[in-house]
């Protein structure tokens, strides 16, 4: 039910100024082998990336992750693929940019098989999403959530499902974390 949100992009806070590979391993907790073999198509700010260890991620950047894709276009957009030359004019190039290291927020979009496989990791770690999108999920998946949620916490307080639904999330940013047996929600930007 949150797959659409993951595809649209969620925001995570972490240490930036690292390579994409470093960020995904150290800040998100992904497995190196998974990044190497499974994530075959990566975009940094809409540009296809060929070398995840060379491309540096900065505050405010958008990273999109996908499995390998079909067709010539899919082959072309793949990281370091034989056909990368066909899209050389839009490829990401690291030009020793002044991306400072420190805390930052990165938008991450998860597509196709990757979304399904990494969703548990992101839920566990927690991510920031628009309140409007959060309300959308609450309303369109009311029954599934009512049946599946064991407990709810908002800003550290135990609450019930009703409170979750009557709260006006729209103008806010929501930090969402889902655990196997419990979930917690935090308001952000002045509402914590």
């Amino acid at each position: 039910m949150f797959m659409g949100v993951l595809r649209k992009g969620v925001r995570v806070e972490g240490h930036v100024g690292l390579s994409i590979g470093g960020f995904l391993r150290e800040e998100i907790g992904m497995d190196a082998e998974y990044i190497e073999s499974r994530i075959q198509t990566i975009f940094l700010n809409g540009r296809p990336v060929d070398d995840v260890e060379a491309a540096v991620i900065g505050d405010g950047d958008a990273l999109a992750l996908s499995a390998s894709m079909p067709g010539l276009a899919g082959a072309t957009l793949r990281k370091g693929g034989h056909f990368a030359g066909l899209r050389s004019t839009i490829s990401y190039r690291e030009e020793g940019s002044a991306k400072r290291s420190g805390k930052g927020v990165v938008t991450i979009k998860l597509f196709n098989l990757i979304a399904k496989e990494l969703a548990p990791l992101f839920f566990e770690r927690g991510f920031i999403m628009d309140g409007e999108d959060f309300s959308g999920v609450l309303h369109s998946h009311h029954e599934t959530l009512s049946a599946g949620l064991r407990s709810v916490e908002i800003d550290g307080q135990a609450e019930d499902m009703e409170k979750l639904e009557i709260t006006d999330w729209d103008p806010k940013e929501v930090f969402l974390r889902v655990r196997m047996n419990e979930s917690s929600v935090g308001h952000r930007r002045g509402n914590v």
């Binding site: 499995a67 079909p70 899209r87 098989l113």
Partner: protein, 578 residues
Amino acid sequence: MDKILRIDVGAEGGPKARVTPVGEYAGLGGRAMTSGMVYNEVPPSCHPLGEDNKLVIAPGLLSGSAAAMSGRISVGCKSPLTGGIKEANAGGQPAQVLARLGYAAIVMEGKPKDDTLYKVFINKDGVKITKANEYKMLGNYDLIDKIKEEYGDKVACISIGQAGEMKMLASSIACTDMEMRPTRHAGRGGVGAVMGSKHIKVIVLDDTGTKMRQPKDPGKFKAANKEWVDGLKKNPTTGQGLPAFGTNVLTNIINEAGGYPAYNFTTGRFKGCEAISGETEVEIEKARGGLATHGCHRGCVIQCSGIYNDKDGNYLTKQPEYETVWAHGGNCGINDLDAIAMLDRLDDDYGLDTIEMGATIGVVMEAGLAEFGDAKAAVELVHEVGKGSPLGRILGSGAAVAGKAFGVERVPVVKGQAMPAYDPRAVQGIGVTYATSTMGADHTAGYAVATNIMKVGGNVDPLSPEGQIVLSRNLQITTAAIDSLGTCLFVAFAIMDQPETFQALLDMCNAFLGTNLTADDVTELGKSILKKEREFNMKAGLTSKQDRLPDYFKKESLEPHNITFQVKDEDLDQVFNW
């Protein structure tokens, strides 16, 4: 497959069938057969809808056998849309059935004496051609219902809808799928119009009492086929991505790359793309009791297709694929999958190429005939085409004609054929293929991505400008070869990633045909096909001057990368300089 069926539609007393030995065309299948015949037998200067053009329908070399993925059928002729040679191919059941009946090709030739419409029935006992005026101006779905009443639901059909009968340039030829629905189309280039010009509404194929084609070396064939299937299943794209999401999985990715042509190629991103993405499409299909993983013909291992039901859970159409969702969706600013599925259904029913129709509607939306995003208007425009109203005739003639009729400059065509769903300014190497393909702007020309294994043309740095030209050339060569095997192009990923799977494909061909083909031979086959196609086009008046993208791609930059098409004309001219 040792015989060819020739139907002279201009014979005295109505069309006459003649079965001839395969002769000089022995060993050819799919595109090698259709382009070879058109090259040999069709005068390049002929009128595409006239007496001298021929419509050639050919199964692939491995069709009708137990080889997995071998059910593509090729349709060739001089194209009324591009004015050059055309090979359009489709999935569905007919390739398998036709091959099992022993035909390497069906050729429709000549000019009908009057306006009688005919149907052709082929089974193991022979060929019967009968009048079929009762089918006049039926859509493909109604037509197939009538065929079912008469022949049952175990036959396979190749047919045209109203658009083909009206000889529209955007008309397709439909092939029935496993459920005997007319959902698989040889869409490009107006091939339906050529079938319409021959007054053949439908070919019904019945393989009752025939056997699967047998390999020359059954032991080796079985082993290679197993290796082939295992290779397809273990590859993440052919074994997981395509079966799970279908080709529309590309929507989010191409959009993210800024190469998704939206609002008639005015921007590279579409805001509403999430609503029409493959992931969303699959969620809808599952929720409504449709199917998200389904084959278009028996023997398909990848199963990139599906079944799309309406809101009430009733069948509406097959899973609309990426090109269709883009053409009728983002390209027209439409983010409503139900409307797109309806447009797909209408295109299949009237017998229209979804890419050409979506591109045409995008062009006339730009002209102000309807607002971008107005799905209702888009549906009405396709109905106009089906009705054959004066407006519908213009729209059914494709984007180039509609652009002229409505005075639009931004018309995304090459050699008169609409571009598919990848903006050539973002992925410029694809633009090279669009510009230089013998087929007009075509995405499947260049879909075979096994060139790295085949080392076609040697090793060139793919990042150099020269590399881009060489890559496009190599892609076109390998595609032409794969199109001849009758293998679905989606196998390309497995053969690109896994050299052993490519070898399995070669082994399978050799064991089946009793040949000793090497990768070099496959390359030579691809080259010889392209050479013939180029020569035909030159004689038909399509020279390198037509190997160009429309001017605006060089002048208008595309967001978000703000980039124009930068490949130089002189470099484009090198693509066929091997």
